[in-house]
């Protein structure tokens, strides 16, 4: 049901049936490291390029979330997905593996909240019963697309952010899962993971044996250093890197998270044109959406246990507080920025994490788990996206931004 100028409230309950997140090694060392479902040891994940690795993360996180939802792909009506790569290549290439209708979304780093809002609206309106919302980003592929080659010896400015390597997926559904279904889904999923891991290990062992055989039978006759070196090079093989999916079969949720509404954001341009200071460019959009949300739903910060922004970064969240203060709103302690909290300061990411995978992974691990424990009753998640590509700053355009917000509540079952 529409509320005010930009917002809506879901009339039917829309439950977070399951959630799944995969992150890279640096993210695993970060503040939320223990909460992610899978932490990769190698950010190439056995693929030949970072783009392929991102697409694989995207695919596997969807597979994980669908598995934990206790359904197969026939139970999913629609997939909403997006990422930061040109023409959404990470998500669209991942979608080849699923025979499910796909809608590609792009709103830069706010794609995840956009997906959740649209998914909620579609389920509420009866167009679908179960949808997946997923986003991904990869440090190396984003760096190459928006900035410079990885090996270039340039310095990052103190206002810059670090694109999160990670993918997160949420399955939204109109049905509330029973505790028995939850247990069964987890056990089945853990079983299939064990099998997959076993297969992976077997094929890696097989590959290793094959490489050894090749090295022994190598037709190099030379003796001495050169011959030994060539034989050793032939013996090196890179076994398809084995992921270690963690499925905690003992995890039980006492509460269910549900999405109850949200606010679509407008594009806001405050004339910031420094592409290495995205936080400052996005803070006005976040403030604009938050003010619209409060006006439309007649709420105030005290109605929420927690308000999360996506990836404003440390300075960006200060700027966000500055704008809200001018409007007479104090957020106090009930506000956190996912990007600013993502890494520890010693990880040298300056302003913290960013990217479509930032809020996608934090929501699907930290925030959902907090709601499922009943720690928070009602939270507001608003992610922001800076709308630029590599050419617009060169053509002297400002960096406009957009922000979408959704409300997640926790319900005891």
């Amino acid at each position: 049901m529409r509320a005010g100028r930009q917002s809506f409230k879901a009339e039917k309950p829309v439950y977070v049936r399951s959630s799944y997140s995969i992150v890279g090694p640096k993210e695993g060392d970060g503040r939320f490291g223990a909460l992610f479902d899978t932490v990769l040891k190698d950010d190439l994940w056995g693929e030949r390029s970072y783009e392929k690795a991102e697409s694989k993360m995207h695919r596997e996180t969807i597979r994980g979330a669908v598995g934990l939802a206790g359904t197969d792909l026939d139970g999913i009506d629609l997939m909403l997905a997006g990422d930061l790569l040109n023409e959404l290549s990470a998500s669209s290439l991942a979608m080849r593996y699923f025979k499910v209708p796909f809608v590609g979304l792009y709103n830069a780093c706010s794609t995840f909240t956009e997906g959740i809002l649209l998914g909620t609206a579609l389920i509420d309106g009866g167009a679908a019963d179960a949808v997946t919302c997923s986003t991904s980003s990869h440090f190396a592929s984003a760096e190459r697309q928006y900035r410079y080659p990885l090996e270039l010896g340039n310095q990052r400015t103190p206002t810059s952010q670090w694109t999160v390597t990670g993918a997160g997926c949420t399955v939204l559904s109109s049905e509330m899962p029973t505790p028995e279904e939850d247990v069964r889904a987890r056990e089945n999923f853990a079983q299939s993971m064990r099998e997959m891991r076993e297969n992976c290990l077997n094929s890696a062992r097989e590959e290793d044996r094959e490489c050894k055989r090749r090295a022994e039978n190598a037709p190099f006759s030379e003796e001495g250093v050169l011959g030994r070196l060539r034989r050793r090079l032939a013996g090196i093989c890179r076994p398809s890197s084995v992921s270690e999916p963690v499925c905690d079969t003992a995890y039980r949720r006492t509460h269910i998270a549900k999405i109850t509404g949200g606010t679509f954001g407008k594009v806001v341009d405050f004339g910031i044109d420094d592409e290495s200071n995205m936080g400052a460019a996005m803070a006005p959009a976040a403030a604009d959406t938050l003010l619209a949300h409060f006006a439309d739903t007649h709420t105030s910060p005290s109605d929420y246990d927690m308000i999360f922004t996506g990836d404003l970064g440390r300075f960006g969240s200060e700027a966000f507080r500055f704008i809200l203060k001018n409007e007479g709103i104090e957020l106090g302690d009930c506000y956190a920025d996912c990007g600013a909290e993502f890494y520890f300061p010693h990880q040298k990411t300056f302003q913290g994490g960013s990217g479509a995978g930032c809020v996608g992974t934090v929501f699907n691990s930290y925030i959902v788990k907090g709601l499922e424990r009943g720690e928070w009753k009602k939270v507001l998640v608003l992610a922001t996206g800076a709308l630029l590509n590599k050419d617009t700053p060169l053509q002297k355009e400002n960096i406009p931004a957009v922000s979408h917000a959704f409300v997640a509540e926790s319900e005891k079952r």
Binding site: Y148, P149, L150, E151, G153, F270, P284, D288, F322, I323
Partner: protein, 146 residues
């Protein structure tokens, strides 16, 4: 909403800036060390090939430094050096080598022709263009004045 000009003023005033002293010091230190290594290479060439002329020694020193810069880029050390030193490792010729080799490595995955060859000069291209243009201008001036 807040006034846009006021917000831009706030951002300008409060955004964290680069630590001036640390950046300058690191650049001075690393840039100086790279130049010392260059001098060392030049002296070594002079000692090994005593008959070589000054210009030839200069050219061979450049070649050795470019090789070293490319090698350190390829093994993944030059970007770490650059993160510490900034301009100190970017201005010497090793930095130029880094700016050519790093895109070549990056775009290797798109194949040799449209990857490596096409994208190799995305960063160094402007420097080469300005170098060539400056050379032409200096040549024309030299032709009439000298």
């Amino acid at each position: 909403m807040t006034d846009k000009a006021e917000y831009r003023e706030y951002v300008k005033k409060n955004a964290p800036g680069s630590p001036m002293f640390r950046s300058v010091f690191a650049a001075f230190l690393v840039g100086g060390i790279i130049c010392c290594i260059g001098e060392g290479v030049s002296d070594a060439i002079k000692a090994i090939f005593p008959d070589m002329g000054e210009t030839d020694i200069g050219s061979w020193t450049t070649v050795v430094m470019i090789f070293l810069g490319s090698l350190l880029t390829a093994v993944g050390l030059y970007d770490r050096l650059g993160r510490f030193a900034g301009g100190g490792s970017m201005i010497p010729i090793t930095g130029f080598a880094n700016s050519v080799v790093s895109p070549a490595l990056e775009y290797n995955r798109e194949g040799v022709f449209f990857g490596v060859c096409a994208k190799m000069f995305v960063i160094a291209g402007p420097i080469i263009v300005f170098g060539v243009v400056a050379g032409v201008v200096a040549g024309v001036i030299g032709l009439f004045a000298g």
